[in-house]
Amino acid sequence: MSGTADAGPVGAVETPQPTGVIHDIGYRRYEGRRLGRGHAFATLAAHSLRGVWGLRRPARAKIMPFLIAGTMLLPAAVSVGVMALFKQRAIAYTDYMVIMQVVPAIFLASQSPYLVAPDLRFRVLPLYLSRPILVADYVFAKLTALAVAMYTLIAVPLTVMFIGELLVDMPGGADVKGYTAAMATGVLHAVFLSAVGLALASFTPRRGLGVAAVSAFYLLTSAVSLVLFGVLSSLSRDDAAVWALLINPFLLVDAVQSWLFDVRSSTVDAYPGGPVPLVLLVAATALAIGGLFLRYRPGGSR
């Protein structure tokens, strides 16, 4: 309680302080705690995550991510409606990513350059590296931010659908297994796609080029996969044809899901190779992260 409103004899002794005056109290030293690399890592990851969604940025930075997230959510909402009206499942949880693949691909292409390109273009990177962090902290903080953003994009529609299913009270109970499998596979999608997107985007300080590079990666892999599958199928070489599917990053993860959780494939009767797609996925992720480190190695062009 300030107690100066009642200006009694005691209060009158004090000189009234005019409000709105800035008093220069001179330079103050900081004697408090200085936290370590973990704190810096969390700071950078959170800052980057806000950047991906355009939070605390100008309004136009929010348009793309939220538009894409809305698009991603739409089929889930429709599916809940279908379940409510017809007591039928429109989309299986485990098929969601393969069906919607273009949407997360656009999100990856439009948002991953945002994480790395401005730091290169506006040369903020040397400032980060003059802080008490390692290059690895920077790379993994960016990767974490993008993976969390991607996972949010994937998990929210699945969860909306699941909550809808619980509320609708479908005959035969909720598909808990399908939901958990899809949520777990979402982690693989998020990590793998983020690593690839970030690695591709980090090679250019130009955001537009980064968007083009990541888009080209998706278009190329999905097109090559489709063409090869078609050609090999027409030659009746079905064994080889199913392998061609794995060139598409979304189908590669789908193959892993199908093996890990014993889920029926959303595209073909069966994916080949048992655990081989998982090995391929881990190798491809490692390659992308390796590329990132190569990009940011000390003495590299920044």
Binding site: T43, H47, S130, P298
Partner: protein, 307 residues
Amino acid sequence: MTILATEGLTMRFPRVTALDRLTVTAGPGVTGLVGANGAGKSTLIKILLGLLRPTEGRAEVLGMDSSARSLEIRRLVGYMPEHECLPPDISATEFVIHMARMSGLPGTAARERAADTLRHVGLYEERYRPIGGYSTGMRQRVKLAQALVHDPRVVFLDEPTNGLDPQGRDDMLALIRRVGVEFGISVVVTSHLLGELERICDHVIVIDGGRLLRSSAITEFTQATRTITVEVEDGQDALLVRLAAAGESAVRHGRLLTVEARSEATYDAVRDAVADLELSLVRLEQGRQRIEDVFRDETGAELEEVR
């Protein structure tokens, strides 16, 4: 206490030797690091921050080895790069808070220190607007603020007056002097203009071609730059003749005249000459010579030898 010390420091890049067996020390206070563009100033700072590994030799900051203990060094050091380094889409406040946290300050302390530091460097209401709309002077202030926000023991300022107009330069130099004297933070500041550093430094280190040319207290330098730069709109030749008649030695460089300041009387002589000839005086200031010019006169022979 030494702020920085190097011993036989050599940095070779594939095409160029940036530092060549540089051995130098600097104590507390404001230290100027002077050299022409490409003399190795920025390379030296990057080695001190542990961002580059020297080819040979060693460097220490606050008594810690720059290669082995770079994280500890970076915790206690601030760095203002020569180049642009600010993201355009966030506000100065948010950026400086972010950088404070990156240096290890907890959230609340980071916000308090960011507000304090931005006020100290002279950014007020505009600090809430995105940096993209700032003038060069404001950007330089934000760059300085992010170097000071975590209350470092030493700051490395790389060409802080680059791109600023004369008024902006004066403000920035005054600010740097305040950082060194009032804030009690040791400053290592680079420039290619000796005249500029003369005003704010206690000690000056001159490097050229990656080698130490000279390291001494500022008082020993003052003789070297006793010149006055005079800019008049026209009538430079008439002024030249007039000054020569008054016994002053002046040289013409295009629109500018450089007059050797023998004593205080020289300033009066210039003033009177300009007034008598009724010339339009644009600028009258203490010589801001490039470092090469200064040393051509004083240590010309030495410079030739080094090359």
